[in-house]
Amino acid sequence: MLLLQLLVDGAVSGCAVGVVAITFAYVYATTGVFHVAHAGLFTLGGYIAWWLSGQGLPFPLALMGAVAVGAAVGAVMQKAIYETLMKRRASPLVQLIASLGLLAILQNLVALLFTPNMLQFEAVSWRLSMLDIGPIHLSLPQIWTLASSLAILAGLVLFSTRTILGKRIRAVSSNRALAEITRLRPFDVYVVVVAIASGLVAVPSVFIGVDQAMQPYTSVLVLLTAVIAVIAGGIGSLPGAFIISVVLAVLQNLVLALMPGRWSIAFTFMLFIVFILIKPTGLFQTRLKRAS
């Protein structure tokens, strides 16, 4: 029974990481920016919802507020920082350094504006509600995490393949030069992509915050797992990144049953290294390919 509960808990955590992974992959595949500041936007979303719900706003509105703020901050980041660097032909390394700087700014800003200590969503009355499904115990926020993450995955894949804007984004990510010639305005598309990714990543941040607690500096480990999932899943494959996120999180949990917890993260990442040595292109075929 322990293994089953660990597996389910791992799958739920993995779904949340999966959203971080697919949104990160969406930005990377389109803009080419290794957007580590995505971890900061993940953190920001939870704190914004916490603040809004603390002001008496109903939870759904607080969640929407967090998504809106995340999208706006992401769009500003792209427009003001990444676009400027791209236009000045900054190398990917310089863009990465800028992103690292943005991450540090966001985390410290959150710690400064709210608190560096752990915060809980005291204003959300249902955060401790439980649901028993046979022998499995799940909290209500865990169920919301699971459902919302799967919905975001499905939505983003459908958006990417079935809508005009989604197809336009795919066109820009496939060949930026050609997109410029055909007046697809890549820089405008980048702003939209980063805004979408930044807004969506607020959702698992809020539900994890409600389920557990929030701390300004813990999102880096979440992003690290997500980036590994993106690489192992095959860069550009959204479902691939999502599935590998779930597998990694489940493995981390199951390993705990076999060895002391302090080894679980190291063991899981060691498995990843072995995997990537065997299959460096990742597990799944790429669907979104960035132009070189």
């Binding site: 322990l2 509960q5 660990l6 808990d9 791992g10 955590s13 710690a111 560096p116 200590n117 752990m118 809980q120 955060r127 401790l128 439980m130 115990h137 909290s139 994890i208 557990q212 607690a213 929030m214 701390q215 500096y217 813990t218 949990n253 705990l256 049953a257 002391p260 917890g261 302090r262």
Partner: protein, 368 residues
């Protein structure tokens, strides 16, 4: 040119030193306090400052120490050892303070070698890492250390709760100290450790660890974490059959949750006279005199008592003499606590408290 600059700088420093020393009267006794007054630890540091100030205001209102007024110079450590060391040097080199009140293990440990070298009496009223016991002959702890609390808790647990335990500890200095102390004491008492699980500092998802520990079916769990207690308490409620837990003073934040009812932790017995608390609340606009305020006020009063004995015997007030007098006086009874100094760490009462929501009750009292 460098020589001229050096001379100029040396002259400026001398003038500054003279100027600063000139602000204190010849009869004034000056002590230092290095506390985290800004940064994440500031709420604790500011409470500690109110305790020191309360003691200083109290002695000055009573005419000072044998007629000599007391002045305290506060330095902000920001909760960082390097800043603490700079602050220590400023106090000793510019103000010649013979005694300094400190806060936090890492900062106190960083100051310890300097205290030995410069023979400055350093008082730690709240930090508890075991290394503080022997860090410096000039560093004294007015509070028992982690190992002392763990010993009292373990003795109670072996007698009343069972001999099969699991451990959840924070993978950082304080958590590792607590784990090692508990493991050593519990195994020596014939106990068996069934599981030993680490959680990371700042971690928010404790479910997998709690599930694994509960599955080991221990009689109780020793928990040694310094952050995240409310989050862990919430998640304990979601793990059916989680055993009761024990811990040290760090586990105080587990109080008040339905899921932690019946848990135990140790606490340092620390009281305050009602009239003194009323005066404190009146002076600082608080509703109660918190633990840190009480302990810092008491530690400062201990310094005053020692200085009083030195002045009475016409002995110079130096760090060395304060240290010698501490062990000569040895007993420092006050409404806060009965404190005995057999070594650099005070011997005093440690309570075993049972969590009974919304508060806690004392079930046993021991000493270190």
């Amino acid at each position: 040119m460098p020589t001229c600059f050096t001379r100029l700088a040396a002259g400026a420093v001398s003038l500054l030193a003279i100027g600063l020393s000139g602000t204190a009267s010849a009869q004034e006794i000056v002590i230092g306090a290095v506390l985290p007054l800004t940064g994440p630890a500031a709420p604790t540091g500011i409470e500690e400052q109110t305790g020191v100030q309360f003691a200083v205001d109290g002695i000055n209102a009573a005419g000072g120490i044998r007629g000599r007024k007391v002045k305290v110079i506060y330095e902000d450590s920001q909760g960082k050892p390097d800043q603490g060391v700079l602050a220590f040097n400023r106090l000793v080199d510019l103000h010649s303070t013979p005694a300094i009140v400190t806060a936090f293990s890492s900062i106190s440990l960083a100051m310890a070698p300097l205290a030995t070298r410069k023979k400055v009496f350093v008082v730690n009223p709240a930090a508890q890492t075991n290394k503080l016991a022997t860090a410096s002959p000039y560093l004294v702890n007015t509070i028992p250390l982690v190992a002392d609390e763990v010993a009292v808790m373990t003795k109670y647990a072996v007698a009343k709760l069972g001999k099969k335990a699991a451990i959840i500890y924070e993978n950082a200095a304080a958590g590792i100290d607590a784990r090692d102390d508990f493991k050593k004491a519990f195994v020596a008492a014939g106990g068996e450790i069934l599981a030993d699980e680490a959680v990371e500092f700042g971690q928010t998802n404790f479910r997998p660890t709690l599930l694994k520990v509960a599955a080991a079916k221990p009689d109780f769990v020793f928990i040694g974490i310094t952050v995240g207690a409310p989050t862990m308490a919430d998640q304990v409620a979601q793990v059916p059959g989680f055993p009761i837990a024990i811990g040290t003073t760090f586990n105080r934040p587990f109080s008040g949750f339905a899921s932690t009812a019946g848990w135990f932790h140790t606490g340092i017995k620390s009281g305050i006279a009602p009239e003194a608390e009323a005066e404190f609340n009146n002076q600082f606009g608080t509703k109660e005199m918190g633990f840190f305020a009480r302990e810092y006020a008491n530690a400062t009063q201990i310094i005053f008592k020692i200085i009083d004995s030195l002045i009475a015997k016409n002995i110079p007030v130096t760090g060395e003499n304060i240290r010698t007098a501490l062990f000569e006086i040895k007993n420092f009874d006050s409404p806060t606590a009965k404190i005995v100094f057999d070594s650099n760490t005070a011997r005093r009462e440690i309570e075993v408290l049972k969590l009974v929501p919304p508060g806690r009750e004392v079930v046993e009292t021991g000493t270190n």
